[in-house]
Amino acid sequence: MHTETLVLGLGNPLLQDDRVGIRAVELLREQLIPVPTEVLFTVGFEVVDKVMGRERVIIVDASTTGNVPGTITEVSVEDIFATHTLRNSHAMTLGTTLKTGYTLFPDRMPKDIKIMLIEADDIDHFSDRCTPDVEQAVHDVVRRIIGYIA
């Protein structure tokens, strides 16, 4: 059991490609991969609560950066940390929460954090399934995760 590694899937399970992180965790669980997993429907401070105390964390989330749907990107906390003033508390970003965690708890946050983004095609419609290209990308991400934790 890879207890030192946590795979954290982020997304809304009901909104098509926004659910890629949830889907990745579903696949890991279906394949009985022995790694702790968690899902969150939010990118608030609950993310910090979940990753704190772990040596190594892999986060899977959707992106809408203009890439081809299904594109997999690996980014750092600094890459996704934005310094904008918030318009509302719902606009909290994954980068902001992680950066805050590392600022306040440098000794307790994961030393190794991998953030894997899958470019979404459709996050506007209700569905408990991803679009085909994005679903394929989730399988690719899961293979990469299995490789990382092997």
Partner: protein, 487 residues
């Protein structure tokens, strides 16, 4: 006429914008806050068993998950004609108040306080949560996040599942509590009370003792005079989980009260040509337009509205802070929107004290957490005070409890009219002779930030969440004159 356009939000249920129109002298003539709310869930819920609805609506928003869950659960009680058992009600209230603490903490520390701590004219790159931590010190930041995590732990333990609650059942609560768990709840609740006291102290030092910031809190540029709606208990004190909904006019006189389906007799909605979102108003007054002052039919909800509707708090430390709040302003109701943040800080303490009171109740371990279901009534209205304001979930079902119709009214919808006025007044005060810059842009945003708009929550994909903001300035001929960005 010049047109200044602030395009802040391009996310799923709320791609909105602010358009500011200048007259030929370069001063503000009019301003509009435009927003599109997500209505998809109302259709999506149709055909679903009502007992499944709380778990589903909790995904409407990653932040407000617990309040949608609770309103839908209360509606399901009515649809099954059942009253929750006493212990179930206490467990629900403890869950709900813990949710209040963690939500109010995030809003205050991530959204409200950076304006005051880092300064309203500070560069946007510093006027944020990380800037706040640098300004107040990492020790306080660590303390806040650590104690706030205790609220999340209560939410998780009682909700029956990490983060996303599943414990709702019509007439009850599926998670039973052991004595050991109750002792843990007491310990976590103590943390929350300490967080509440700390927050009151931080607000006092940073805002209340700073005359310049108090000018913003008590200044007419952020004064919006409307009616107010909120929920009170049988003593008239502010209530969150349950109570009677009450409305007061701009002078503080009670003009309406209602429960459940009676909201339809009190609230009406007006279609306006410049927005997809209807503007709610008080039916008894008739539509008067987006206007403030005596006779307006607009009403506000949220922490400040609750302070104006209620006669106090039901816990000792929060009551003390409430009295200080009311003594600070010359008269009540208090119409200054920056006071929303102060009211939010006091409510955080109040909710924390309630958690502590509820956790100490030995009855919490009573295993009788569910009442027998009654006959399906076919209709239920669940009303709670969400942290941002009154939240109404109204469902109709067939005789098997399958949803046939759903209507959800959220706080940001209630506040649509007042937010427009807040933006208009701030713009008129700060934009002179056509001069706008990043600092002025922030002062205008401070007009709507206290309401903490619930616009962007159902998705959070990376690349979407930054809500970039730009102002396009058009000359009197409609040509683009200047663009300002804060990203």
């Amino acid at each position: 006429m010049k047109k200044i356009e602030i395009n802040p939000i391009t996310r799923l249920e709320g791609h909105g914008k602010i358009a500011i129109f200048l007259n030929d002298d370069g001063n503000v003539d009019e301003a509009f806050f435009q927003v599109v709310e997500l209505r998809g869930y109302e259709n999506f819920l149709q055909g679903m068993p009502i007992e499944e609805v709380p778990r589903t609506v909790s995904t409407i928003c990653g932040v407000c998950r617990g309040v949608h869950f609770t309103s839908a659960m209360k509606a399901s009680d009515q649809i099954y004609g059942v009253e929750p058992t006493p212990v179930a009600k206490k467990l629900r209230e403890l869950f709900f108040n813990a949710h209040y603490v963690e939500d109010h903490a995030v809003v205050l520390y991530a959204l409200g306080l950076p304006d005051f701590v880092v300064g309203p004219e500070a560069p946007a790159a510093e006027r944020n949560l990380v800037g706040l931590v640098k300004a107040v010190g990492a020790e306080i930041g660590r303390d806040v996040l650590t104690k706030r995590a205790s609220a999340v732990k209560i939410f998780e333990m009682l909700g029956g599942k990490p983060i996303h609650p599943v414990a709702a059942v019509p007439g009850g609560w599926s998670k039973k509590i052991t004595e050991a768990e109750r002792q843990q709840l007491i310990a976590w609740s103590k943390d929350l009370v300490e967080l509440g006291k700390l927050t009151i102290n931080v607000f006092d030092k940073i805002v209340l003792q700073n005359p310049k910031y108090m000018e913003l809190v008590t200044g007419d540029m952020y004064k919006v005079t409307t009616n107010y709606m909120g929920t009170v208990n049988e003593k008239g004190q502010i209530a969150y989980y349950d109570g009677i909904q009450k409305v007061v006019d701009p002078k503080g006189k009670e003009i309406a009260s209602f429960t459940g389906k009676e909201y339809l007799d009190v609230i009406s909605e007006r279609v306006v040509p410049w927005s997809y979102l209807k503007v709610p108003y008080l039916k008894q007054m008739g539509w008067k337009g987006i206007v403030e002052g005596a006779g307006t039919s607009l009403y506000s909800v949220g922490p400040l509205a609750r302070f104006n509707v209620g006669n106090g708090m039901d816990t000792p430390l929060a009551q003390e802070a409430y009295e200080q709040f009311m003594d600070t302003f010359a008269s009540r109701p208090v119409h200054y929107v920056q006071a929303y943040h102060w009211a939010r800080a006091i409510e955080l303490l109040n909710a924390a004290e309630k958690c502590f009171q509820l956790a100490q109740d030995p009855e919490l371990t009573d295993p009788n957490t569910r009442a027998e279901l009654g006959k399906v009534t076919g209709e239920g209205v669940g009303i709670t005070e969400a942290p941002r304001g009154t939240l109404i979930h109204h469902y109709k079902t067939d005789d098997k409890g399958i949803v046939t119709n759903a209507n959800l009214i959220v706080a940001t919808t209630h506040n649509k009219g007042p937010i427009n006025i807040a933006v208009r007044k701030a713009a008129k005060h700060f934009i002179k002779d056509g001069k706008v810059d990043d600092g002025i842009l922030n002062y205008i945003e401070m007009g709507f930030r206290p309401y903490d708009l619930c616009l962007a929550c159902a998705t959070h994909a990376v690349g979407q969440a930054q809500t970039p903001l730009s102002i396009d300035v058009f000359d009197s001929q409609g040509a683009l004159h200047k663009t300002l960005n804060n990203f």
